[in-house]
Amino acid sequence: MTDILDEAPTAPASSDAAASTQAEVSAEMAAISREYADTGATETQPRLDYPPYRSSVLRHPTKDPHHADPEGIELWAPVFGHQDVDRLEADLTIQHRGEPVGERMIVTGRVLDGEGRPVRHQLVEIWQANAGGRYIHKRDQHPAAIDPNFTGVGRCLTDGDGTYSFTTIKPGPYPWKNHRNAWRPAHIHFSVFGPAFTQRMITQMYFPSDPLFALDPIYQSITDPAARDRLVATYDHDVTSHEWATGYRWDIVLTGSHRTPLESDTEGDDA
């Protein structure tokens, strides 16, 4: 996580021209939402083919995924340990000399598999914008201040109970180029692993009652309202810390594993 300013990837693809208005994009999203409600089905994941998110148009597969029984390597996941992740990496507010600007917050929760078992000693990675909605990334050209005391990258291992915990700054919303006057709701990117590689996922955690939810095609690509809600953290005063930080709780449930759990997946060892 050093030399962050030298690690930016290359120029973006040009598919997100700001040609539509918010009203046009909102009308597209509303039509998809009505059509979904009429089906009576329940979707739990985002649609890959979701035209209101313009960048998805040429990047979604057109064929249904092919069923494969997980086997061999797919039934397992990489192992991460304390040689990989320093405990201090879970505190995004201490990576520089000074205190970052913004609302200091704690975000914590549990990573569970589809049967409710804790995902133990597994890697959780986060990245996010600063309080002004700016990423430390060459490609982020939003003219909000870079905070020299905030990089916005953290890692931790879940503990023996599947719990992760980060101390960070509440990120700000930011504009993007999907359409004219497009703004992303404030979010933290989460990358998580389960006990099997087929459970690998990357997602985004949001904050309660964000007025941008209804306007955001990435959030709305999850057509099911209850499924969308699962990405929204809960303010938890028991997590809030006296004269220090506000607290949010957010649990992550992975898809089911196909491997019979080993004792080492569920029993305590060194954490």
Partner: protein, 187 residues
């Protein structure tokens, strides 16, 4: 709001977005072994969109057995001490949509099975990750006998088999359109 107690419905995925480049790749993330390792092979290719254009902001992860077919159980993928084979790596695509790993060729995880690398694809514009497999060429009998490959017509099957080159294997990923890669659902 949020998740009621006892709700074990899966958390939805979301796109990795455009700004992962300073967060997810790390020094050595694409080198499962040092490229100078005597048995190192290069596993590389391009990620292409539905217009055939390169995807310069994709992230790939591979997860694989060792040459002996054993599933690696050693930690250290982020630490990369240069000696421990952890079986896992991460690479972002460059401005030409190209990715590259240095690794060891996996062996069969069961006698007679076809060796493959499990591959996960993330990208801006891709609303959830995609899973696929990159089978290694060479053992035709094992490839013909593979249940997944056997369930696909020949044209689609070919999208899952890497091609040998002078230093290793080439595996292109087409997200959409002609030659669209077979992506997998594990249900």
């Amino acid at each position: 709001m949020s998740r009621p107690a006892g709700d074990l419905q899966p958390t939805p995925g979301q796109t990795v977005g455009p700004f992962f480049g300073y967060a997810l790749p790390y020094d050595g993330s694409s080198d499962l072994v040092p490229p100078t390792h005597p048995d190192a092979v290069r596993f590389h290719g391009r990620v292409l969109d539905g217009a055939g254009d390169p995807v310069p902001d994709a992230l790939l992860e591979i997860w694989q057995a060792g040459p002996d077919g054993a599933v690696p159980r050693a930690a250290g993928s982020l630490h990369r001490d240069g000696f421990t084979f952890t079986g896992w790596g991460r690479a972002s695509t460059d401005g030409t949509g190209h990715y590259s790993f240095a690794t060891l060729a996996p062996g069969p995880t069961a006698p007679g099975s076809a060796p493959y690398l499990a591959v996960t694809v993330f990208a801006r514009g891709l609303l959830n990750r995609l899973f696929t497999r990159a089978y290694l060429p060479g053992d035709d009998a094992a490839l013909v006998a593979d249940p997944l490959l056997a369930s696909l017509d020949p044209e689609r099957r070919a999208t899952l088999v890497a091609a040998a080159d002078d230093r290793g294997f080439v595996f292109d990923i087409r997200l959409q359109g002609d030659g669209e890669t077979v992506f997998l659902a594990h249900g």
